[in-house]
């Protein structure tokens, strides 16, 4: 079944909000990750002439839009790991700290649902709505909507900011489990099917321009390097939950040695 949403058929015009302040001239996450100018050269090579002159603040950007979205998926994955850790905690009878749930859900609310998904819904999904991925897109849109409801629930239930009782911990654990169960296959499908299909159908020039536009939108909405800020926030939550140290996830291989 195709999505027949009459206002979703084309990407919204790309001008950023005028109600926001102009971004300060600072490094973006892209320049931090890849070094100033490195990928801008690549962007220019595929014809992103206006992108290179569009924004002094983002002039060294050049990350393709699909890479950008997948990087944001990395933030989502780390929140899912926190949700999973908290459901394990609740299952073992240890009450949840409202702040941990609240902080994790706020990252989803502010960055994933309030920005990342808007990019997907405004610029990626409309291009795929009339083709063979139409029903997949409809499901993804429905899942975005359901996820937002779960997030609203988690935020509402943790406003008190204290340690939660066993009943509430169990309820929140169920909500987080449902969220994880939905979003693991959701983002995997986007990374491996939706984004490659999007890249395939969008002309190179336009694709490069869109990457630049995503950078501009991020600056307009958050006024800074929000990706890096979000990574810092999720790191703090992981540390509080005791899941930050990667070593703990490395298996012992002795049992498997032949």
């Amino acid at each position: 079944m195709t999505t027949n949403h009459e206002s979703q058929k084309a990407p919204a015009p790309l001008a950023p909000p005028t109600s926001q302040q102009s971004p300060p001239p600072h490094q973006t996450r892209r320049s931090l990750l890849f070094g100033a100018g490195g990928l801008a050269v690549g962007a220019a090579a595929v014809g992103a002439s206006w992108a290179a002159t569009s924004s002094p603040a983002a002039a060294s950007d050049g990350i393709p839009p699909d890479d950008d979205l997948m990087r944001e998926h990395g933030v989502l994955k780390r929140v899912l790991l926190c949700y999973r850790a908290m459901t394990t905690q609740a299952a073992s009878g240890r009450p949840l700290a409202a702040a941990h749930v609240q902080d994790s859900a706020l990252i989803i609310h502010d960055f994933i649902e309030g920005f990342h998904e808007g990019l997907e819904e405004g610029y990626v999904f409309p291009r795929l709505r009339s083709g063979p991925l139409a029903s997949t897109v409809t499901t993804l849109l429905t899942q975005h909507a359901r996820g937002r409801v779960i997030t609203q629930y988690l935020l509402a239930q943790t406003r008190s900011g204290s340690t939660l009782n066993a009943v509430t911990s169990t309820k929140l654990s169920g909500a987080m489990q449902a969220f994880v169960r939905m979003y693991e296959p959701h983002e995997a499908r986007e990374d491996t099917v939706i984004f490659p299909a999007f890249r395939k159908i969008v002309p190179a020039q336009e694709f490069a321009d869109l990457g630049q536009h995503f950078a501009d939108l991020e600056h307009q909405q958050f006024g800074g390097d929000e990706f890096t800020a979000m990574v810092a926030r999720i790191t703090s939550i992981e540390q509080a939950l005791g899941i930050y140290d990667l070593n703990q996830f490395t298996p012992q291989i002795a049992p498997y040695l032949t």
Partner: protein
């Protein structure tokens, strides 16, 4: 100077396709050309509310404050504003008060239809007519509600 536009071809496509165009006879037109029609319909869970000509629920955004379009950028990806195409018109369908219809400029270009001063948006989470899955959602910096025929948002009592 920052470039704030998108390649002209895409902008044109968005303007044409974003609006719910209709040729309904039971309407009051405000101009000639492509027509955007708002009507009233019963939507699951919220009752009689404003919808597009195809039956998709219409929402207001509290930060707009009955004054201006503030949902832009990624927000407009999730909540596409109802655009009145250049040279087009808008019309009140059955149950809609013609005097409450109007327009506001969109900071991203074009014109957005308003009702009772509220810029109108659809929600990408509504994947079929007759849904209002965005009702009472707090997202993108404010709360979203469907609109009653009298132009007031349907805000649930606590």
């Amino acid at each position: 100077m920052r470039r704030r536009g998108w390649p002209a071809g895409l902008v044109a496509g968005a303007l044409v396709l974003a609006a719910g165009c209709s040729s309904s006879a039971a309407t009051t037109a405000h101009a000639s050309g492509p027509k955007v029609t708002v009507k009233v319909a019963t939507v699951t869970g919220v009752g009689q509310v404003l919808v597009t000509s195809k039956g998709y629920a219409l929402y207001m955004f509290q930060p707009d404050n009955q004054r201006s379009v503030t949902c832009t950028g990624a927000c407009a990806g999730t909540w596409p504003p109802v655009k009145v195409p250049d040279g087009g018109s808008f019309a009140a369908g059955a149950g809609v008060k013609d005097a409450l219809l109007g327009t506001d400029p969109d900071p991203e270009g074009g014109t957005v239809l308003t009702y009772g001063g509220w810029p109108l948006y659809t929600y990408t989470g509504d994947t079929a007519p007759g849904q209002a899955t965005g009702q009472s959602i707090d997202l993108n910096g404010g709360e979203w509600y469907v609109l009653r025929p009298d132009g007031k948002p349907l805000i649930p009592t606590p």
